[in-house]
């Protein structure tokens, strides 16, 4: 395998893996704090049990997220030293802020996990909240740094030199807000659905204890509300992409030919040879409207992008379709949930409803990974959009395929270990409740 491909794969695997743990680390503390708050209000033991079990999940996911994040902070240099040499001083500010937020998160988590009988319930609850808030802040800072790669700002690129550097302008680049809001809600949506799904599976397996029922309700409230926010934040992000990165938008929609009244393409198989999309459903004017808010607006197609600046259309298009499709599904599930709650239906004991939720366990995370694929692959061949190509950022050290192999091996083992560990956590709860 070529070094460039190996390095890109290694980065994708490391990021894709870390993102899952990072998102759980952002969203789950709020579930845990919510359960504790309900316990403080009702003194109902089941909520305390929930808060404690979820906090163990947070501890495990946070630790794995922290070490895989440590790897990433070095990997940026191990794989892309030329990028870091130039980008480091420009987009480093959100990383240094993230360092602080992450530190606070680690401290607050220590207090939450081990401080149950050392501090007052209110102080304890606040420490849980701080875990969540600083987790979300960390996420926002890191996404702001990624947004800079899509929307470089805070410097002038003259004769191959980076001058007039302004790190604050770099941090508040055009893409940071839309990317960060979309990602933050995505963290809650995917975590909410995954947690709800796991508890639904337990209920289906005949473990009909209140513990799982209450857990499912709380997780689904978070997941559903976040799922409703996804199309709104996504629309803002897409409009921003249309303005700044027409190549990415064209690849997302497999929009080969520049046109006015451009149709929105749903599904279909892009064919790079014929420059057409086969078997797609087309909504006339849809893309023009979504990208620019006007059915007759012109949308730049791939034909206006120089050939060596086009991202791989098939990957980006499929990833985008998967993200949107699963996001819509989650919204639908959320809608049904709130409808059933409103009508006071006995949904929690309905087998079919639980089956749907069980099947939906991974969809939030699949959508999340697909969304990041759109962001990252859609930016190719650039590592800094329109400034530096990914291939020019690659390390001079040969043999990256061996480091790729090592990372794949380590992460495969860890993935299995985490699943096994979670399985045992759940088993222990059932033993406690004698089911």
């Amino acid at each position: 395998m070529e070094d460039l491909m190996a390095a890109r794969l290694q980065m994708a695997i490391s990021l894709g893996w870390h993102i899952i743990f990072a998102c759980i680390g952002m969203a789950m503390p709020f579930l845990m704090a919510f359960a504790e708050w309900k316990w403080m209000k009702t003194k109902d033991q089941v909520y305390l049990d929930l808060a404690k079990s979820w906090s163990k999940g947070v501890a495990i996911f946070f630790a794995v997220g922290a070490v895989s994040g440590t790897l990433l902070s070095f990997e940026l240099g191990l794989l892309w030293p030329t990028f870091m040499e130039h980008a480091g001083p420009i987009f480093g500010m959100p990383f240094s802020m993230e360092g602080t937020a992450f530190f606070v998160e680690a401290i607050a988590l220590g207090v939450f996990l081990y401080g149950w009988d050392k501090i007052s319930p209110l102080a304890h609850w606040i420490s849980g909240l701080i875990v969540g808030i600083s987790g979300v802040m960390s996420g926002i800072f890191v996404v702001a740094a990624n947004a800079w790669m899509n929307s470089p700002a805070g410097f002038d690129f003259v004769d191959g030199k980076y001058i007039n550097i302004d790190p604050i302008a770099a941090m508040f680049n055009d893409a940071w807000f839309t990317q960060a809001t979309h990602m933050t809600f995505a963290a809650f949506a995917s975590t909410g659905f995954a947690v709800a799904g796991v508890h639904a599976i337990m209920l289906l397996r005949g473990k009909k204890i209140r513990f799982h029922k209450e857990a499912l309700k709380i997780a689904l409230i978070f997941g559903s509300i976040a799922a409703f926010a996804m199309p709104i934040t996504g629309d803002l992000a897409a409009k921003d992409v249309a303005k700044r990165q027409p190549a990415k938008l064209a690849a997302m929609e497999a929009h080969y030919h520049t046109s006015k009244n451009a149709p929105l393409i749903i599904g279909g198989i892009p064919n790079d040879e014929t420059q057409e999309v086969d078997y797609a459903i087309e909504i006339p004017g849809g893309l023009s409207f979504l990208a620019h808010g006007d059915f007759d607006a012109e949308v730049i197609g791939l034909d206006q992008i120089p050939e060596d600046e086009r991202p791989p259309v098939i990957v980006v298009h499929f990833a985008f379709q998967i993200m949107v499709g699963l996001g819509t599904l989650m919204m639908l599930i959320g809608f049904i949930y709130f409808f059933m709650r409103w009508r006071k239906w006995d949904y929690i004991n309905n087998k079919w409803w639980l089956r749907i939720l069980a099947l939906a366990t991974p969809i939030g995370f699949i959508a999340l990974e697909a969304g990041w694929t759109v962001t990252e692959v859609g930016r190719q061949p650039w590592i800094i959009y329109k400034v530096m190509r990914t291939k020019d950022a690659l390390t001079a050290m040969p043999g990256i395929q061996y480091s790729l192999l090592t990372i794949v091996l380590v992460y495969s083992i860890l993935t299995l270990a985490v699943i096994w560990l979670m399985h045992r956590q759940i088993k222990s709860i059932h033993e406690k409740y004698n089911t």
Binding site: A59, I60, T70, E85, V111, A417, Q425
Partner: protein, 334 residues
Amino acid sequence: MYTELIMIIMGISLILYMILGGADFGAGIIELFIGDKSNSTVSRAMAPVWEANHMWLIIAVVILFNGFPKAYVILSTNLHIPVLLFLIAIIMRGTAFTFRHYDAYHDKSEKIYSTIFRYSSLLAVFFMGITISAFFSGTIPSDTSGTFTEQYIYTWFNWFAVSVGVFLVTISAYIAGIFLLGEVETEEGYNSIRKFIMWIFGLSIISGASIFISSFVSDLQFHKLFLSHPISIAAGVIASLIAPYIYKLIKAKKIWTMRIVVGAQMVLIMIGWFIIQWPNLVVFSDGTKLSMYDASGPVATMKVLFFSLAIGVVVIFPSLYYLFRLFKSEDNLS
């Protein structure tokens, strides 16, 4: 001015990582040598604070790539291999420790977690030492014309580097030993750690000597740098001379005095190292140097970085104080 201030903050982060992170790594090494006897003590003492102890590394690396990108690039290219090995060890030990602590059942799996935690703790420190050594050994070529082995292997694969790696292992285990003396609950536990400390201290003297000998024999830069800095020599001498005093403190079970004195000893060693480096970040094989001024980012970056770090200091130190006070205040052997 910002460049110097940021470098000092990085130095402080490294000292704190050396002491707090070192104690954490060292706890794994102690377990490796004195086994399950120390297991529960380590878990109980480390669990609330271990995550926070490792944040100093993140702070240091962020300062490096943000403020001194050229040094970060050397670290990640010429030292790619030991850095990767260090990171894998970090991942293994962190997850193994967490798994051991949070696994719902304590059965045979605990043995696997413990084994991974112990060996990867040792390997993490060892590869960290190997990596750090290259900054002052003068094994990194100043250009990129060399062969693969010159560029990516000999930079860290040498007697000197191994000596520094072993030295760091012994020092971490020593720090952890001193810390755990105040955490053990039995007389027997105290004595077994005390014996371990004597033993590991001896090993640190041998590996320390090996650092100097290998630098002489391989004609590296380290001993030349060291001998031309009287303050570093003084720091090294004082750090060695307080050893008998520490021995007395251990015998007298004066936990907090002992912790503070050993902390001061580590600060001396680190300052001794910083002084021979200052203002250089990397010493190359041909004797040329990359100073912090050559490596630093533009003024605007350094200014913003400094203020971000200042905000960090204001937020982190009080929170950290709170965390340690909450979990460490009542610990006392008596």
